[in-house]
């Protein structure tokens, strides 16, 4: 187990280092980064001064080491638009994205897993087909359309929920559904496939032969075995939720990382974009590490492997 854990953490560290380096390369080798940072219409002197101030006239290796040293001190540079540390801007928006992602994940897991279980348990019946229609809808309707439809129905017509903003918990409901719908379908499909697969295995028949009811077999044995592939999906879905947040946050005027990313790209606030890219990459890596540890917690074949 210890070897497994250390191995996974080393892999994660390598991945994080790779991300940091790629972000540096994209920014510094694909052209003069000064041009990305200056306001539009700046004079040649202003550009040269900024280039010197930021150290972009130094050799590339020196710049890389300075960049790494900066990251080590949690220094991600100053936003050229807002004149405050880029990291502060991103961190001020982060809680909103966390709320939204948590809300969407609640929708995705809370609806997707039960739907998948019901589909597997009622394989070949009308129940499965009805649920399959729900799943298909969830994965086919694009987020920008479902978001606008939700606003139209529940905010404009029924006036149950606010159209946008972050004033209350009720404001979180529609963005969470719009963002979570696609993931819900993914969870439902994966859970269904995993469970149908497990239900066909010999240990299910053997457990029934001990006198267990089908329900007891599912609760005690099948669900845990089905969880392993679903965890893999969960780790990837958390990353997809963050990516999908860009659209949902724009539709619902939700002041999270996604909206900030759009604004920063539009205002050429490149250092803020860089922090967002790094942050989302770290979250991706962290969730896969979490998934690896979850496998070990569930599956003794991984936990006890030497």
């Amino acid at each position: 187990m210890l070897r497994y854990a250390i191995g996974r953490l080393i892999q994660a560290a390598v991945a994080v280092f790779g991300v940091i380096t790629i972000v540096f390369v994209v920014m510094h080798v694909s052209g003069d980064p000064t041009l990305l940072l200056v306001p539009q219409g700046a004079s040649a002197e202003e550009i040269a001064a900024l280039r010197h101030q930021l150290g972009f006239d130094q050799p590339i290796l020196t710049q890389y080491l300075a960049y790494l040293a900066g990251l080590a001190h949690f220094d991600f540079g100053i936003s050229v638009v807002q004149r405050v540390p880029a990291i502060d801007i991103v961190l001020s928006r982060l809680p909103y994205t966390i709320y939204l992602a948590a809300g969407a994940l609640t929708v995705a897991v809370g609806a997707g897993i039960p739907v998948g279980i019901l589909m597997a348990a009622n394989k070949g019946t009308l129940v499965e087909r009805a649920l399959a229609a729900v799943v298909l809808t969830g994965q086919s309707v694009p987020t920008f359309l479902s978001g606008i439809l939700l606003i139209l129905i529940f905010a404009v017509e029924l006036r149950w929920l606010p159209t946008s903003g972050v004033g209350s918990l009720s404001a979180l409901i529609m963005p969470s559904i719009a963002l979570g719908a696609l993931s819900m379908s993914t969870f439902a499909r994966m859970m269904r496939i995993a469970m149908v697969d497990e239900l066909g295995k010999d240990y299910v028949r053997a457990a029934r032969a001990r006198g267990l009811s089908m329900r007891a077999v599912v609760m005690r044995h099948v669900l845990r075995n089905s969880a392993i592939p679903v965890i893999t999906v969960a780790a990837l879905e958390i990353g997809n939720l963050l990516a999908g947040a860009v659209i949902v946050e724009t539709v619902f005027a939700w002041p999270g990382i996604g909206q900030l990313a759009i604004q920063s790209i539009q205002s050429r606030d490149f250092l803020v974009v860089q922090v967002i890219v790094l942050l989302i990459s770290f979250i991706y890596v962290a969730t896969s590490v979490a998934a690896d540890f979850a496998y070990a917690a569930i599956d003794p074949r991984i936990r006890l492997a030497r």
Partner: protein, 331 residues
């Protein structure tokens, strides 16, 4: 008249259909207390379906259309699911062909044995584990205290089958159904598992319905043999009588195809030409007619009933008096 001669389990006219085809057709046999009945036949002859039907564990596609499974005075085939669950693992247990796959990979073997006990008896977790440990010891697993807390992947196939036997026997069932319990195991392990089953029969008086295609296993452990062919009983007899004087051409050919050490080898080991017909190919007559060396016109049109050839020895063949020709030709 003592109870000992009354059958403990008696299967009457069992018929199972898949997509309207009778894949098991009117199968009847009986097992007395402490007796081992072997159900023998090629792959696809319906012997596994028959054995699973005894516990009401047929796959979704198969349907039991008629017949009774009498355990004492109770017809298991007529019981509703809830009542049947009370019998499964307690009155009738089953072990399967793939022992490693029959255990949940994420649960320790101890708790899977304990689960079977706690399903039928009100005992504490600690007591259930103590009895699971005793059961592991009884099925000959060394170091049971350690094994109790291990997972199936840490055990060999033979050990997993011992665990399955422990699961099956912990509630002291009257009948153990063993569906090819040694097919997936090494030959040396096969012998150990068979010895274990023989010992358990002797110690506990458990009856065994053993499904196998291995005549060597039959000779080793069975008291009675039912030979199945294409979903029907071809011949049923005490083991010695069946081996000495088979009265069905299929049985005679099966026995002739078993390699023997006490007979000088002829040019080639005998085989039975052709394959078992699929349920769609079943005709009105004897289902073995297409492969039978003694076949006549009557065999193709008229299904032979089970004739009582000798006391306790029944065979479904119109030409049973000529079966000796096959046996002599093979010898």
């Amino acid at each position: 008249m003592s109870d000992i001669h009354r059958p403990l389990l008696s299967v009457e006219n069992l018929t199972i259909e898949i997509d309207g085809a009778g894949v098991v057709d009117g199968v009847s046999f009986a097992v007395r207390p402490g007796e081992v009945l072997a159900l023998v036949g090629e792959s696809g002859c319906g012997k596994s379906l028959t054995s699973h039907a005894l516990l009401g564990l047929l796959p979704d596609v198969a349907r039991l259309t008629s017949g009774r499974v009498l355990l004492g005075d109770t017809d298991l085939a007529a019981l509703p699911e809830r009542a049947l669950r009370k019998a499964r693992g307690k009155d009738v247990s089953i072990i399967f062909q793939e022992p490693s796959a029959s255990l949940d990979p994420l649960t320790t073997v101890g708790s899977q044995i304990a689960e079977a006990l706690r399903q039928h008896e009100k005992v504490s977790r600690g007591e259930a584990m103590a009895r699971a440990r005793a059961m592991l010891d009884a099925v000959g697993i060394p170091d049971p205290d350690r094994r109790l807390h291990q997972y199936p992947f840490e055990l060999s196939g033979g050990m997993c089958q011992r665990v399955m036997i422990a699961v099956a026997l912990i509630c002291g069932p009257r009948v153990l159904v063993a569906d090819e319990p040694t097919t997936a195991l090494d030959v040396t392990i096969q012998a150990q598992i068979l010895d274990l089953m023989k010992r358990l029969v002797a110690e506990r008086g458990t009856s065994i319905v053993l499904i196998t295609h291995d005549m060597g296993v039959v000779a080793d452990i069975a008291d009675h043999v039912a030979v199945m062919y294409a979903g029907r009983i071809a011949e049923i007899a005490p083991v010695d009588d069946l081996f000495a004087r088979p009265a069905h051409p299929y049985t005679a050919l099966l026995l002739a195809s078993v390699p023997r050490l006490d007979v000088a080898p002829k040019a080639e080991l005998a085989t039975i030409d052709g394959t078992v017909p699929s349920p769609q190919e079943f005709g009105a007559g004897c289902r073995f007619a297409g492969r039978c060396p003694l076949v006549s016109d009557r065999c193709r049109t008229e299904q032979p009933p089970l004739f009582e050839e000798r006391p306790g020895h029944r065979t479904a063949c119109w030409h049973r008096e000529r079966v000796g020709e096959i046996t002599r030709a093979a010898a």
